[in-house]
């Protein structure tokens, strides 16, 4: 076993998720092995229906696998009880979804603070943390706005702030730019880059090549399995000129 596996924040072995049975059996996730190191950003790309969202749900304990293991920070989470699993989801994992999933009747600040309150922080500490995070994502001036008064990009930034509120071991993002126009996408790209620079461990499943290109490592998924892996770091500096027609 490699050292990478020993120090992994998130690890999956032989991960499987089946739906249906007999003739109708579908292997949505079919034997996935994954190691995500501390501070690493990993993107999983693939066509819709390839199983990438299901995979993310298994990794974050939103769903249980049919087989295999998920290990978060050295601790198996695929076979723990409901209560422990719910607690793990509240405190150790941050989720970001395509459709934001904000509470529409709560302000931006309340949305962020709620997640810290649910994890057992005092109201005062939760408030302070939420204010810090909204400032960090550039929304200090919009803290008292309802989600409906915010643009798509701003709503997604609130969702990222919420995901960070309990200093999660890993942030899991499912198509975080899927509902955003190009300017808002750029906003979220900046935010993910700064998370990456601050050392946050990130797993992103997406079919948006722009957000995928922010990753250290890119995995292609087809029919429930990983088929290709690319390390994106260590680039092609100096070749951009050719793309702009500056060199022959």
């Amino acid at each position: 076993m490699s050292n990478a596996a020993d120090t992994s924040v998130l690890r999956a072995r032989g991960l499987r998720k089946d739906y249906g049975r007999g003739e109708g059996l579908v292997r949505a996730v079919d034997g996935v092995d994954l190691d995500v190191g501390p501070g690493e950003t990993v993107a999983v790309m693939g066509p819709s229906g390839c199983g990438k969202s299901t995979l993310l749900h298994l990794l974050g304990g939103l769903d249980r696998p049919s087989g295999g293991e998920v290990v978060l920070n050295g601790r198996r989470i695929d076979d723990i009880g409901e209560k422990a699993l719910a607690r793990m989801r509240r405190t150790a994992v941050g989720f970001v979804f395509q459709a934001f999933h904000l509470m529409e009747e709560l302000t931006a600040l309340e949305n962020v603070e709620l997640s810290a309150l649910l994890a057992g922080r005092s109201p005062r500490a939760a408030r302070r943390r939420a204010e810090e995070l909204l400032d960090q994502v550039g929304l200090a001036g919009r803290a008292r706005f309802l989600p409906s008064a915010l643009s798509g990009g701003q709503r997604q930034r609130v969702a990222v702030a919420r995901a960070l509120s309990n200093e999660p071991l890993v942030v899991l993002a499912d198509e975080p730019t899927g509902n955003l126009d190009s300017a808002a996408t750029l906003d979220v790209l900046h935010l993910f880059e700064s998370l990456h620079e601050s050392g946050q461990t990130l797993v992103i499943v997406t079919h948006d090549t722009r957000i995928a290109a922010t990753a250290d490592r890119l995995i292609s998924m087809r029919d429930g399995a990983f088929v290709d892996e690319t390390r994106l770091t260590g680039g092609t500096t100096g070749r951009l000129g050719a793309l702009a027609g500056l060199e022959d």
């Binding site: 090549t209 290109a213 922010t214 292609s220 690319t230 070749r239 000129g241 793309l243 702009a244 500056l246």
Partner: protein, 173 residues
């Protein structure tokens, strides 16, 4: 560097070579880093010989003392170039035929070729995107980098279509 570009960058006012290079650097940002100073001066000399630029000397002791100005013929060439419609065409046919030839002769799995190509384009996308994000807001160079990002995205979408097209053929063969 294309001769017409150098000419057009001098159209605003007669300039020293270093002023021209500074203008190019501002417009190109990190992409201008690869620009070779010697190349610019070679182009300037060619344009002078072709009668498109007139050179006057200030001080006359160093090459950078030279001031370059458009001749009437140079101005006409710039006007024609500005009016010209030209757009670089990526060579998609070559890649397309590579996939077809590879599959037909069993030289390689087209999906492997698609994956390799995608890997390279994603690295470039990452580089272009990082360079764009490092630029200050509304810089001219950021706009150019955005153009590169959008073209790479278009190429990556086409690769997705290639992948879809070749996937069933592989399992059927």
């Amino acid at each position: 560097m294309q001769q017409e570009v150098v000419l057009a960058m001098l159209a605003k006012e007669p300039s020293h070579g270093y002023q021209l290079r500074a203008r190019l650097r501002d417009a190109l940002g990190p992409l201008g880093d690869a620009m070779n100073a010697g190349q610019v001066y070679v182009t300037l000399a060619r344009l002078e010989r072709a009668g498109l630029l007139a050179v006057s000397e200030e001080g006359a002791d160093r090459s950078d003392r030279k001031v370059y100005a458009l001749t009437p013929k140079g101005q006409q060439r710039v006007a024609e170039w500005i009016a010209e419609v030209a757009w670089p065409r990526p060579d998609l046919a070559e890649f397309h035929l590579k996939l077809i030839a590879a599959a037909a002769a069993g030289l390689a799995d087209p999906l492997t070729i698609v994956d390799t190509q995608r890997r390279e384009l994603l690295r470039r996308l990452r580089d272009a995107q990082r360079a764009a994000m490092a630029e200050p807001d509304r810089s001219d160079a950021a706009l150019l980098l955005e153009g590169i990002v959008l073209r790479l995205q278009a190429d990556l979408r086409w690769l997705e279509a290639c992948e879809k097209n070749w996937t069933p053929r592989r399992s059927g063969s």
